[in-house]
Symmetry: C2
Subunit: 242 residues, 2 copies
């Protein structure tokens, strides 16, 4: 009996996922993009100070020894960049992707334009939705975070980080787009390097920020579809400050 | 002596305005748009409840009698829609624009695309930056408001209202664009009718919302340049919810 109940539950889950996938495809139908359903993960890491020293991250791929175990002796080693866990792993930048996939089970998607469909937006903060995105010969980490910067007022923060150095990151532009209910919100920026800390990018507010009310306007049945596009950056024609 | 000091002050002000104008033009140089320098006004109206009843605004251009004087007897009359003052004026929708110009000294600008350059972003909340925008045969009211929804955490809210009925408003789409420091933020939506209340649109958060940190990233020397474009709305091709 239990077996049949579980089977029925699994079938219902599959139908639900299929339905969400279909809905996200409708919203971003024009480009025929790949839709990735991303389930939330309750963040187990409560250590914003973990990265306090990391803001001075350098160009050589060295991250200061700001993590919780012994200091890094090999300057080529970087600590685990998974935003979810305080993980003692460290390794070369080239193997960060395989560590994130294998140890933290973060999915990786291919394609220049994808749709990130974050489910269960109602879950309490802190919650993260994370995928990796492989594009233009590089890998990017997309993080959507629900966090209470002001107690009792959760906000959503979305950013894209290059799994590479800041110099490499400067070669790209990423775009996040929300589109629903006759409203459209677009954020375009240069991705930050994963050597800078996700936590500090979010605490600086230098990313797409959504209040709960706006997140609800853009959500459909508790899921938020974010269109993602990455391009190699060119000097913005209407940008004078560069 | 006082005369010379004042003359010198006026010349300095002119140079400063000219410089700001030039800077805004640089940021949005591509389209060669009209730049309008908008000075802040400290909001004298502290009555969010003024519009509580107005949310049920109807299609016939009638606003419920939610203002502070005697009830409206002529259903064609609307109260003053100036977001700055609790003004006892009321009149027909067609004369709202001239009332706002003459009594509240709100500037009106012509052109499909303009740049709204809000100065002195550092001023404490509540502060409003307001202009009217004449375009496609209609007049729009652009409101940028600095407000503390959460005490001690001012945010910026920008929205565009049509000085017309909700049915007329549905025919347009407005776009607000910020572009600086290799970051770009675009908000696109259908304008709300001025018969709905600016205060309620902002308290609902159904507008462009900027945290202080993002506002600083997009500001240049205390001024925020917002590119504005209005178009007649067409069904968004990638929008399924309409």
């Amino acid at each position: 009996m239990l077996f049949f109940t579980q089977c029925f539950g699994a079938v219902l889950d599959l139908i639900h996922l299929r339905f969400q996938h279909y809905k996200a495809k409708r919203v971003f139908s024009a480009a025929g993009q790949l839709v990735c359903v991303v389930n939330p993960t309750h963040s187990l890491k409560y250590a914003p100070t973990r990265c306090a020293a990391a803001q001075a991250s350098t160009e050589q791929g060295i991250l200061p020894a700001c993590h919780h175990h012994e200091a890094v002796h090999d300057p080529q080693l970087v600590p685990c960049t998974c935003p979810l866990f305080s993980c003692p792993w460290e390794g070369h930048l080239e193997v960060v992707v395989s560590h994130l996939r294998q140890t933290h089970r973060i999915n990786i998607l291919q394609g220049a334009e994808i749709v990130f469909l974050a489910t269960d937006m109602h879950l309490p903060a802190p919650t993260d939705w994370i995928i990796m995105h492989s594009c233009l010969g590089h890998q990017f980490l997309l993080v959507l975070r629900k966090q209470e910067k002001y107690e009792g007022h959760p906000q959503f923060f979305a950013t894209m980080m290059l799994i590479g150095t800041p110099t490499q990151a400067n070669n790209f532009t990423y775009r996040l787009e929300l589109n629903r209910n006759q409203r459209r919100l677009k954020w375009e920026a240069t991705p930050r390097s994963i050597l800078e800390c996700v936590d500090s990018v979010i605490s600086d507010g230098d990313c797409l920020v959504l209040n709960t009310s706006l997140a609800q306007l853009f959500s459909d049945n508790g899921s938020l579809a974010i269109g993602i596009a990455i391009t190699t950056s060119k000097v913005h024609s209407s940008e004078a400050e560069m």
